[in-house]
Amino acid sequence: MPRADVVVIGAGLAGLSCAAELAERGARVFLAAKGMATTHWTHGGLDVAAPPGAQTSRAGVHSLAATNHHPYRFLAVDADAAVTAHLARMSSQGMPHVGFLDDPLTPIPTAIGSLRRAAILPSAQAAASEPWADDGLLLVGFRRYRDAWASYSARNLRNARWPGGPSEIRAVDVELPGLDRLHNIAPHVLARLFEDPVWRSRALSAIAAVLPAGAWRIGLPAVLGLDAHAEVHAEAERAFSHRVFEMASLPPSVPGLRLFEALRRRILTRGGRIQIGFDVVDVERTGRRIEAIHTEAASRTLRIAADAFVLATGGIGGAGIRADHGGTLTERVFGLPVAAPSRERWFNDDPLLPHPLEAAGIEVDDDLAPPELENVRIIGSALPGMHYLDERCGDGVALASANRVARSLAASHAVAA
């Protein structure tokens, strides 16, 4: 196995974008992951920071940076460059986005009929974030498709507090051609159907036929194609003569599949390598340096040597940190110490409050290196001090930490070379 400059462990947003940035900067990068990851479960937008009270992502970043333990206290300076680089990368892969750090965090309707605040969205979701004025919201569901229910979303949205929301919210269900003959109607199955120009044109006509008169914006399940989704989205807007936006629903998330595939291709076309499906089972360590990792294999192990190792395996909600029954938390690859609240503080009286363990992670210095290992960097939700569900900062921290690490490792590699 040829030696790599950098091994990235983990295939979520942090690991993929770090590997992409490294490959773009000419480093020989090897991405190893035990499986596919969180990209497939996300809504496809970019949560940089939306803590309660913040009006923009930038304000959110600043307010989180001011808290004691949050990774933004030293990563806030990287947010601009990291988000800019990510959006440029997405755009080059045919996935343009709208919005940036200074745009207002706007309530976006979700598939269960709640509202989440977002500012940076794939262009196929953009129409949901524009001012509603006198437009109504028409949610379109597909009969026999069990992963998104337009009438359920519409009912909840009508009951939601939505200042500046649409003038009216309605739902309509449509019979798409041929679905009565299918057994397995999953999001990616519909997305592949939408890639077929002939079926797509019949499906869009079927939807157009049931649209009521008036000024509507149309919310569809996020299944409008994979590779060709920009084309499908544009064709839908032409067919309906209305703005159209996608709403992600149950996993697998089609916007997430597109995100994963865009980053995967970017890494490969820039000469990076990817191995998915094999866990790290051993590491070679000399003093404060890691020399190589070993991934599991059908027999023996695969040794992957590199100058630096980036840990992007996720936190307690991902695969990077494990808890045992006795209350000991373990970082699974390098056995690094985990900063976490003590066992008796693992419980909340209110189950809906942020969970104390969400903030568990690996302590690092400003270069994102843990004190124990000099050529290891920690990125993404393995960093401590975040409550990313409430702060909605997971994507921003992933990108900012990935970007900082990739820039500094690529620079040190260029010097060494």
Binding site: G35, M36, H188, P251, G277, D279, E296, A298, A319
Partner: protein, 430 residues
């Protein structure tokens, strides 16, 4: 495929408790992509597993698991460590055990028998394999699709060539496990592609290895894929009995089929429950030939005197290779050959999946799974393509029309060219 921890190692179906129902596996399944009849790995694996067990009936809840081609991509994609493909294979075997198997499946799995019948009759048998009427009858009588990817029998087996050559078949009197390897040729090299075996021997000998070819049979993988575990175990036990003494003496066992070597490394233990000392020793000693050559190169011991091969080369890493967890060593070796422009297909599966693509009721699925790969191979304009597993090669060659060879064939040609090349005059001047 992959081991995770002690609790799942013994019995893959237990790993289905780890499923978090995220559906990542269903998005990557090549069979589910092309047919609605297959509900996907999650449904036939972790979901259905809850309905299987003693007294429930092995076919529960239905028989759709039999549409699984066994490519293994679901196991690799799973973020939770569920051994999905392995669970599905065992479920199919349970159905076969309860309800029996077709004559067709028993026949196409028994590659050693086919070889014993076909090789002596090669001229005649090959006419049959190429004859439209004979293939039509094969489809009607047996259910082997008339356009299924079959190759032709060799006129002489690899084994008989080795015998005539006077090659070693037993442990050498003076042990030398560092420079001697055992070659596991498998049934395909023996009965269909003996030239590939000769190329492998040539390359190994060129790099200073003495080659031993001990008694061996088909690895049993075709039986495993068809759920015929009893027959597979019989093959496996005889291979283990023959190979274990070499493995325990420190000899590496090298194969040219990533399918056979994966069976020796993983499937004997993960599916056939053969996890005794012999099976472990053989698994630990088994190497894919490209894996071995790349390891040699990492140590600076590979002869890198490759002559230029100026050609584009579409390369398809087969599913079985991907399950080895050894990367794509052929691509790293191709990079050592001047002028060779190898292109990784970046495609999940060719569709053949061993005997799957031969079956009349599966042929179209197999073609649809591989269609983007065939199109890419054709569009490359290359004179040939490369792939490490035999049935994948036959499928790609037949469906794309582009001759498809083992990576070793390319490397052996390059070495031979280096030997015959006329020395450049300027070299002598210097």
């Amino acid at each position: 495929m992959s081991f995770h921890d002690a609790s799942t190692r013994e019995f893959p179906p237990f790993s289905t408790d780890l499923c978090i129902k995220c559906n990542v596996c269903t998005t990557v399944c090549p069979v589910a992509r092309v047919t609605d009849d297959f509900p996907g790995p999650k449904y036939v694996g972790p979901q259905a597993q809850r309905f299987r067990g003693p007294g429930v009936g092995s076919g529960a809840p239905d028989r759709s698991v039999d549409l699984c081609s066994g490519c293994g991509i679901c196991t690799r994609a799973c973020p939770a460590g569920v051994l999905i493909a392995e669970t599905n294979n065992r479920a199919r075997a349970a159905i076969v055990e309860e309800r029996g198997s077709s004559l067709r499946n028993r026949l196409i799995s028994d590659t050693d028998l086919l070889g014993r019948l076909g090789v002596p009759l090669a001229p005649l048998a090959n006419i049959g394999l190429k004859n439209g009427l004979a293939r039509w009858m094969g489809e009607k009588l047996l259910g082997i699709h008339r356009r299924g990817p079959l190759t032709t029998f060799a006129r002489r087996t690899f084994g008989s060539w080795w015998k005539r050559r006077g090659g070693a078949v037993a442990l050498p009197p003076v042990p030398d496990p560092s420079r001697t390897v055992v070659y596991f040729h498998g049934c395909a090299v023996n009965s269909f592609e003996p030239d590939l075996g000769r190329d492998a021997v040539e390359i190994l000998e060129r790099n200073g290895f003495t080659v031993i070819v001990p008694r061996q049979e088909c690895c049993g993988l075709p039986f495993i894929s068809n759920g015929l575990y009893a027959q597979a175990r019989a093959k496996a036990r005889r291979n283990l009995a023959s190979l274990a003494e070499f493995a325990r003496a420190g000899y590496r066992i090298v194969g040219t089929s990533t399918s056979c070597t994966h069976a020796l490394k993983a499937e004997y233990r993960e599916m056939l429950d053969l996890s005794d000392a012999d099976a472990t020793a053989v698994a630990d000693a088994t190497w894919d030939i490209c894996e071995l050559l790349l390891d040699l190169h990492d140590r600076g011991e590979l002869d890198v005197g490759f002559a230029p091969m100026v050609e584009p080369l579409p390369y398809h890493p087969p599913c079985q290779l991907k399950s080895h967890g050894i990367g794509t060593p052929a691509m790293d070796l191709f990079a050592l050959v001047p002028g060779l422009r190898a292109i990784d297909s970046d495609h999940d599966c060719c569709g053949a999946a061993g005997t799957y693509g031969l079956k009349v009721e599966r042929w179209q699925i197999a073609q649809d799974v591989g269609a983007p790969l065939f199109a890419a191979v054709r569009a490359s304009g290359a004179a040939r393509a490369a792939c490490d597993s035999e049935t994948c090669r036959w499928q790609i060659e037949q469906s794309s029309g582009v001759p498809t060879v083992h990576p070793i064939t390319i490397l052996a040609e390059s070495y031979r060219r280096a030997d015959t090349a006329v020395e450049e005059p300027w070299r002598r001047i210097v």
